[in-house]
């Protein structure tokens, strides 16, 4: 055997069958025909509408959640208001508290009416997809900001409450000791102002984080779909 012979044989045509796996053919026209003829499979349609389960759509769940949170905030506001009435004996402070609460109540009524309107609104799915998504996205973002504003408003009521408590204590100390500034004042300020400042910062950070985490995620998903629809 030599390499010349081997090279000659290498170049010779081989008649042995070579197995080439055949790819199955598919095309959209065939798929469309099969799509038309497809057996639908099980679709549960109730005898009556009342038999339908409660809506599980993410938007409806978000609205339910927002409703519960607003009830909770209203409860907290009420507790703060009554705490002032119960703890403070000074009639003047009661009057201050009453007017401050009235201001907060009026502004709260504005925000709550808007949030309630959002809660009650039925999203219209009959528009074309882009309009439907834009309306949904706009309403969601608007009410996220309204919700944050309402929370910060409630914070201001809390600050007012702490201010009234602090004033009351400072006045008591001043009347008792005859002095308006001593170490007790500094301690009192520290006892009220420091926790208050930390609480305010915590509420701001947590509210922003909570709203963006819970509601912002859905808004971001809607936005990404809207971006897919943009002109290319």
């Amino acid at each position: 055997m030599n390499f010349d012979d081997l090279e000659t044989k290498w170049d010779e045509k081989v008649d042995e069958p070579v197995y080439v796996p055949q790819k199955k053919a598919m095309n959209f026209d065939d798929l469309k025909i099969k799509w038309e003829e497809e057996d639908h499979g099980p679709v549960y349609i109730p005898q009556k509408i009342a038999h339908l389960k409660e809506a599980q759509h993410p938007l409806d769940k978000l609205k339910q959640n927002m409703k519960m949170e607003i009830y909770f905030q209203l409860l907290c506001l009420s507790l703060v208001f009554f705490a002032i009435l119960v703890h403070e004996e000074d009639e003047f402070l009661h009057v201050v508290c009453f007017f401050a609460t009235a201001v907060v109540a009026i502004i709260s009524a504005f925000y709550l009416s808007k949030l309630y309107k959002f809660y009650k609104s039925v999203h219209v799915y009959t528009l074309d997809t882009k309009d439907s998504l834009q309306e949904l996205y706009y309403n969601l973002r608007l009410n996220m900001e309204r919700y944050k504003s309402f929370t910060f408003l409630a914070m201001s009521f809390f600050i007012m409450h702490q201010g009234i408590m602090l004033y009351s204590k400072l006045e008591l100390v001043a009347v008792t000791t005859g002095q308006y500034w001593d170490n007790n004042f500094s301690l009192l300020l520290l006892k009220y102002i420091l926790p208050m400042t930390i609480s305010i910062l915590l509420v701001i950070v947590l509210t922003n984080w909570w709203v963006n985490f819970f509601y912002g995620k859905y808004a971001k998903q809607i936005k990404s779909i809207l971006d897919e629809l943009k002109e290319t």
Binding site: D39, I45, L52, A55, Y125, I225, T232
Partner: protein, 168 residues
């Protein structure tokens, strides 16, 4: 809405239940999600039924509501992959083999799971035989945009299907 409207609505739904079936198969990949989405589509159709004035065919109106519902029906645990890859789509869980269904269609539904929501909508309308103009009207985009996006979606789907041993 009254009992007459309810009866009319349920009749329409029975006549067009294939639309619901196809949409939920395109947008979900397991039995549990499919049932949830089916229910949700029927609920939203009922809520929107008062807006249907008969100017268009019921099926055209139904496409819009059903697709809009499916497209915004995000599951919390995001069982659908968030980005398109050309790996095999996940096997549907808890689903028994349905011998009646065509194999090619089964592959189609499996591969479609890897597409984005708008791409699925484009392909759905295409499979239903809508023109580019009609697809654009349903989605709220121009005819040209619909054409371009549909072609891209078809190319993407073809590439995914090729990984399953099929050739377009």
């Amino acid at each position: 809405m009254n009992a007459v409207a309810e009866k009319q609505f349920l009749t329409y739904i029975h006549q067009h239940k294939g639309i619901i079936s196809k949409i939920v198969r395109m947008y979900t990949d397991n039995v549990e999600d499919r049932e949830d989405l089916q229910q949700e589509i029927i609920i939203q159709l009922w809520k929107s039924f008062g807006h249907y004035k008969g100017e268009s065919q019921f099926s055209t109106w139904m496409y819009r509501v059903a697709i809009n519902t499916a497209i915004t029906f995000f599951k919390k645990d995001q069982r659908r992959p968030s980005s398109t890859t050309y790996e095999a789509a996940p096997e549907p869980k808890h689903e028994e083999y349905d011998g009646r269904q065509d194999k090619q269609l089964a592959i189609f539904y499996k591969c479609v799971q890897l597409l984005k929501p708008v791409e699925k909508a484009l392909l759905f309308y295409f499979m239903e035989g809508l023109s580019h103009r009609e697809i654009g009207q349903q989605l709220g985009i121009s005819e040209g945009n619909a054409r371009v996006k549909l072609n891209r979606s078809k190319e993407k789907l073809q590439e995914i299907i090729k990984t399953h041993g099929y050739e377009f």
